[in-house]
């Protein structure tokens, strides 16, 4: 099993944490409790998940353009993910929110990623070197 995946760098930086993986996009303005970093929308698959110090792996943001401020609020409130991985092509809301929050952001992972990155696995995102690694061989 491969333990290093290539990716594209959008916002530089590094982050280590447990993966929170979803195939559902996120409307950061309406679905997030930004003071606690928790997904508050009961219709979302990540309902009640806390993003704090995690590696959020998701397809991208949808809905309100103000969602970029919500990402920044997570950072200021110390409940932001350690890094974010967009499983498709990064959207403007996530890119601009991470840019001012200095949250490492990568996308376009190698195609094999779904077999490697599962919910709860420990990940290291090194955006500067365009790499996502699994430091502990969890699988």
């Amino acid at each position: 099993m491969k333990s290093t995946l290539k990716c594209r760098r959008i916002v530089g930086g590094c982050g280590i944490g447990k993966a929170i993986v979803t195939e559902q996009p996120i409307n950061f303005l309406s679905m997030l409790d930004v003071s606690r970093g928790i997904i508050k929308d009961p219709r979302h698959h990540l309902f009640r998940s806390c993003l704090r110090d995690s590696i959020l792996v998701f397809p991208g943001a949808v809905g309100s353009s103000v969602g970029s401020y919500s990402i920044y609020a997570l950072k200021v409130n110390c409940v932001a993910p350690a890094a974010i991985i967009c499983s498709g092509k990064t959207d403007l809301i996530t890119a601009s929110g991470c840019a001012i929050s200095e949250i490492a952001l990568v996308d376009m992972l190698e195609k094999s990623w779904p077999s490697v990155i599962r919910n709860g696995v420990e990940l290291e995102v090194d955006a500067n070197n365009r790499m996502v690694t699994l430091p502990k061989q969890t699988i």
């Binding site: 290539k6 594209r8 760098r9 959008i10 916002v11 996009p25 409307n27 303005l29 309406s30 679905m31 930004v34 929308d41 219709r43 397809p59 991208g60 943001a61 949808v62 809905g63 309100s64 353009s65 103000v66 969602g67 970029s68 401020y69 920044y72 609020a73 950072k75 200021v76 409130n77 498709g88 092509k89 990064t90 959207d91 403007l92 809301i93 996530t94 890119a95 601009s96 929110g97 991470c98 840019a99 001012i100 952001l105 996308d107 376009m108 365009r130």
Partner: protein, 412 residues
Amino acid sequence: MLSVISARVILVGKLLLRLLYYFYKLELTKEEEDMLNGEHGESFAVAYRILLAIGEATGASKLVPVKWAHISGVNYNTIGDSGVKFLEEFSKTGRVAIRTTINPMGYDKGRIENLSDRFLKKQSSIVNSYSMLGAIPSFTCVPYEIFDIPEKGSMVSFAESSAAVFSNSILGLSTNRESALSALASSITGKTPYSDLLIENFRQAKVAIRPDFTPSTELDYGLLGYFAGNAVKDPCVAFIPPEGRPDRIQAKALSAAIGTSGSCGMFTFGHGSGREIVSFGKEEAARVKDELSTGDDGDLIALGGPQLGLNELSLLSSLIEGKKLKKRCMIFCARAIHRQAKEIGLVNRIEKAGGEFMCDSCTCMTPLITRADFDSVITNSIKAAYYLDRSNSIGVALKDLRTIVRDYSENN
């Protein structure tokens, strides 16, 4: 055999595109590099950091000038304390370089309802920051109903999702669905990355949605838009109209609903040939309505989301002439539209029937409609329904405007 070859050609093409993305880099001019490095102050450095990130994300090769920036993130309820502080810092050295209009704030400046001092103080700080930046205090989510529209094909940077979709689809402008922060960056730099919906190729829909019935009300178009936003991930979607096309009011509803559910930034009308076809029947419409409409009735009628223009006010006025509304009815519109509507007698007619105007603000995350005062709200707006339910935790009864007037008014 041919299909195998063409499949391989497509695969190789996709791989090449992927490789291109990996090694692509946004080229900045010397002046832009200097700004990024903070030689013209912190606000410009932040703005270029944002432009660089969205440029990298969209695979842009350069930044291009835009004629107009429309910024979201004005209502304190949407950006919170961290946003207030960010804008306070940003406005210290940033100044707008192009026409810049801003979204609604939290309340009507002319009538402060029961809002906390804290809310008023924070909201006033935001308004002050945008004023320092030199933005026009438009407080509207429908800037295209108030300001001159640049010539067709002009590039603009619009954050408000409903305005971005409407501008691309109906006004012939070109904008990506900018974020609040990227439109803010465009306002002081006058630039945006040259990518996606600014490029003709991306303005061609690959997926076409075919309604199996003729949408007849603004609510039908809203349901269609919400469905389309969920179903289509591309920058542009096509609709195959059964007959006729939506009028301006319906097109506004369609744009706002697409903006609410998805990331798609434009729609066109056209044929289905060569496109993937998705059906939208009465069953799909009912499913969307079930998701967003949590009840059959409410304590308050809220109209807006986006704000009403003269077209809608004129329609509303003709529908309720000689009638009296049986429920409290808040009508959200821009101050500039209210002024025009007043001059031509619409405001008077609507107020006579019991309508209350709320200028400068809108339904989306408004502090004027809270759970403490209202259990549920009646509206014809998909966007209002979505945010009232998810953000304000208020029940919603979705009905089209004619039905609302029919059900909730009596002859005077």
